[in-house]
Structures are given as C-alpha cells and as structure tokens.
C-alpha cells in the first residue's frame, strides 16, 4: 500500500526525505527510548542546547529525564568499534527549553552520527550529507564550516586564563572583533597581540576565495596542519553546484570541552536560526571514556515551520 503524501505533515515528509538520504549513504537507523538517567545530563550540562531538563522519579526510585539530546545517549550506550565505523541515523523527539518559547517544548530532530575510525574521508562525506540535507529543504542555503583546532590555537595565543578564553570564544561566535580587542587591552596585552585571531575571524566566505588567506594565517601561527585538514574537508565541494553555498566562517564555534576539529551550521533563507548543527566531538568521547572518534549533525525540524508559513502566504 502506498502512502498518500497529502496526509503527511510537512515536518513528517521532510523527516522521511532526510532518512531516505541517510539510508542511501549507507547509514542504519538507531532507535532509543524516551528516557535516560538524569545523571548523564547533569554531568554534561554545557553540552546541552538549553538549560533545563524535565525530570521524574521512576518506579525504582531513580531520577530520570525526558531526553533533551540524542548524541549523549548514543555516546553512552554504544560500544567502541576501533578500526571499524558505525554509521547511524536517528529520527527522535527531544524535550528542551527553546529560544523564545515560554517553557519546555517537544522538538523533532533527525541526524547522523559516525563513531569509530573517523578520518578525512568520513568527515568529507558527513559534510557532503549536511549540504545535501540542506538542499533537500531549500535551494537557498548556506553551510558554514569552521575548524575549532585552528580557532582554539589562535585563541590560546592570547588568552591568559580560562575565563578570558571563554569570553574571547563568545565574542568570536558573535563576530565581535572590537570586543576581543577590548578584552585583550583590559588584560594588558600589547596592541596588536590579537591581530592573527582578528584576521582569522574577519576572513569568511566561499572556500575558493578565502582558503589561501586562511592557510597564510594558519602558517604564521604554527597551525598549518589544521588549515590543511580544513582544505581537505571542503575539497569535495570544489567545482560542484554546492561550492558557492559553502562558507568558511570561524564564528561557527562550539564548547571546546566537547567539540574539536570541523564544526558546522546550516542556514536557510528566511529562517533566522540555524536549522542544522554538527561537528566532530572526539573531546566528548574522551570525557565519556570512549576511544572512538566521532562526528555527526542534527537537523531541527521544528525550525522549518517558517518554510511552510511562506508557502501559506
């Protein structure tokens, strides 16, 4: 029996289209329960997209939570596979406080996670899938990619302590270059100490135009390897239709306690928040005593409502 598409909500239709895309790339479905022990989230609070978790005590007296996140559960519940590679996708509801929402909301997300031997080839494939996912949603998209090892090396070059590092990274995420200079002056650094970092953050756009500058900045700051890894990760887009929709932009940051290497966000024309977010999270794996490397991304289906609204108009 075939399903009449007219009975599907837009969010369901999009979810199925993305699942089909992930399946085509050789990913298998990962299913999970709705609950997880609260302890997992209390130990990794900063990893969550929002503060606040819905908790309850189960019949055995354990403090449980309605899942606010999928990745943490997968990292906790899967086993290392060493030289192998687990390619998994999910389609789940999560419960979190949304920006602008007064209280908790149920949100649907689909996403992929690769754990195991994550090499340059795997990273390129995941980036390609992220671009294909965005293209499935709208022809007007931008996939913003950064390299956290390169960014963090330049931030560490000026930050005197953890607090300063955190403030500078927050400014980096806001493209607040004057704020970074103010922080450096207040810390007593000599004028120009942050020049390399400002140059990195001020260089953004399609890879072909800006990679040569990024390589120069990286080489001058002893991070040529990170720039090389970034170049290789986006090489697959060169000469394709997607090339102009890829941006290298170091304002795509993440909490360095969990993320490292490639980080990325996807934007659609007319939607104010990123609809896709992902990156490498080897640091999270180490924190949770996992040896595998990992990369993944999630698409936030609730944020696509605006696309439907435009259709309604």
């Amino acid at each position: 029996m075939e399903i009449n598409e007219a009975v599907l909500e837009e969010k369901e239709r999009t979810g199925f289209l993305l699942r089909e895309l992930f399946h085509r790339h050789g990913f298998s479905r990962y299913r999970m329960g709705k609950f997880e022990e609260y302890d997992l989230y209390s130990r990794n609070k900063d990893f969550l997209m929002s503060d606040g978790v819905i908790t309850f005590t189960d019949t055995g007296g354990r403090l449980m939570a309605l899942k606010p996140d999928v990745t943490l559960s997968m990292v906790k519940n899967l086993r290392d596979c060493g030289e192998g590679l687990q390619k998994l996708y999910y389609h789940e509801n999560v419960y979190r406080v949304s920006a602008g929402a007064d209280g908790f909301r149920e949100e649907t997300q689909v996403g992929v996670e690769c754990m195991g031997r994550v090499d340059g080839k795997v990273i390129s494939e995941v980036l390609r899938m992220a671009a294909e996912s965005l293209a499935t949603l709208s022809p007007s998209y931008v996939l913003e990619i950064s390299h956290l090892d390169l960014l963090s090396a330049l931030v560490d070059g000026v930050a005197l302590d953890d607090g300063m590092r955190k403030s500078i990274l927050a400014c980096a995420g806001e493209k607040n270059l004057h704020g970074i200079s103010e922080i450096c002056r207040a810390a007593g650094l000599h004028p120009g100490a942050e020049e390399g970092l400002l140059a990195l953050l001020g260089t953004y756009g399609p890879p072909r135009a800006i990679l040569p500058t990024i390589r120069q900045i990286a080489a001058a700051n002893g991070c040529a390897e990170a720039a090389q890894s970034l170049s290789q990760s986006v090489a697959g887009f060169m000469g394709t239709e997607a090339e102009e929709k890829i941006w290298i932009d170091f304002s795509a940051t993440g909490d360095l306690k969990y993320y490292n290497g490639i980080a990325f966000k996807g934007f659609l024309w007319g939607i104010p928040d990123p609809v896709l977010s992902g990156g490498q999270y080897d640091a999270l794996m180490r924190r949770m005593r996992r040896k595998d490397r990992a990369i993944g991304f999630a698409v936030f289906l609730n944020r696509l409502d605006r696309l439907t609204e435009k259709g309604e108009k």
């Binding site: 920006a99 913003e144 493209k175 934007f267 939607i271 104010p272 928040d273």
Partner: protein
C-alpha cells in the same frame, strides 16, 4: 533612474525610537542607505526606499535585539546594556561609538555596606547585576524594577542600584553617587546570523560606509 533592489535583497533595519535612532539614521543615510520619507513627521513606523534597497522600522530600543534575533529585521542598533542583559543570538558587528554611557553601581552619598548580609540591589538589569556581583562572590538580593530605579535606596527598598548613568545629574539630584563602574555602554550594530549570510553584500557595504571606507 536607479535600479530597484529586489525585495529579497532589501535590508530590513530595526532602529531604536528616539534621539539615538535619529542619529543612527543619519549615519546610515550617509553610508549609502538613505530613506528621506523617514524624516517627514507622521505616525508611520515603517519606511522604505526601494532604490537604496532599505526598509527601516522604528521600534522600542529594548526590542531591537528581539526583531533582529527573530529575523524580522536583518540588522539593527542596540545598546550594549540590552545585549549583555538579554544575550540575543546575534552578531555584534560594530561599536558605533555613539549613545555612550556606563553601567554602574550607585548608592546614597555616604552609604556603608554591611558585608554580613546580602546586598539589596534594585535594577532593571538583573542578569548584569547578578554576573557582576557573582564574579566577586558577593551574595545579593535582586529587586527587579522597571523604572524610577533611583528612588529605591531613598525609600529603603534597596541598598544600591545598578543602572545606566549618562551625565550623573539624576543621581546627584537624588543624593546618590556612583560607587563602581561595571561596564562602558554604547550603541552596537547587530545582525541576524542567517540574514547576514544571505545579505552579506548589503551589510558589508553599510559597514564600509559607516567606517568611511569605499566598497
């Protein structure tokens, strides 16, 4: 005749109502985004110049960041106080260097703090106050007010206030004095993170104009 900019590329700008907004409009017009109809006195709130590819909205100053974060405006001008208090998910592209003032702690002249009890702080800026005193490890009790903050210590509602100080005249007239400066404040150019990517050329042209650079 100049070509009209397509509606998709029109830059939507949220301006703070009032003197600061009028000053900002002057800077934007000089930077290549004029919209003369905005100067005509009327009760209209939205003004557009299709030739220059710009649409301005007058909004309450504290709402500018909301319009920008939610994508109703691509860019806007908001005080650093609002950005620190509400932490909207936006880019902070430039310090415009206008609307300068400072966020400060003020208290009645001669006030002596009792360190053995929590300090009572009246303010509109709860987060800024909490972050400031939290950083010093000082226990405080926040009394959130929406206006006339200066009278709170006079009436015994609070020990001190955390508020914006421009010239200090209001403080002096109410027998208050600045005790500590928390952070300097000025107007900032902010942009929606998604809008910035799709209207990059227009935003960068405006920034270049504001900095007096040719583009």
């Amino acid at each position: 005749m100049e070509a009209r900019v397509s509606p998709e590329q029109t830059l939507n700008v949220a301006l703070p109502k009032g003197r600061l907004g009028e000053k900002v409009y002057g800077l934007f017009a000089q930077a290549g985004f004029p919209c003369p109809s905005i100067l005509e006195s009327s009760r209209k709130l939205i003004f557009e110049n299709p030739e220059a590819g710009v649409r301005y909205f007058w909004v309450k100053p504290s709402d500018v960041a909301i319009y920008v974060a939610r994508g109703a405006a691509d860019i806007g001008v908001a005080g650093k106080d609002i950005l620190l208090e509400y932490r909207p998910e936006v880019y902070e592209l430039m310090d415009l260097g206008i609307g300068k003032c400072r966020m400060a702690v003020a208290a009645p002249v001669g006030f002596r703090e009792n360190p053995e009890r929590p300090l009572r702080v009246a303010t509109k800026f709860s987060r800024i106050a909490r972050d400031y005193y939290g950083g010093m490890g000082r226990d405080i009790e926040i009394i959130h007010l929406n206006g006339s903050i200066e009278i709170a210590p006079i009436l015994g509602l609070s020990d001190v206030i955390v508020d914006i100080v421009e010239t200090g005249t209001t403080l002096r007239e109410n027998h208050l004095e600045v005790r500590e400066e928390i952070v300097p404040i000025s107007a900032r150019l902010i942009a929606n993170k998604s809008g910035f990517k799709f209207k990059r050329a227009a935003v960068e042209r405006l920034m270049a104009g504001l900095e007096g650079r040719e583009q």
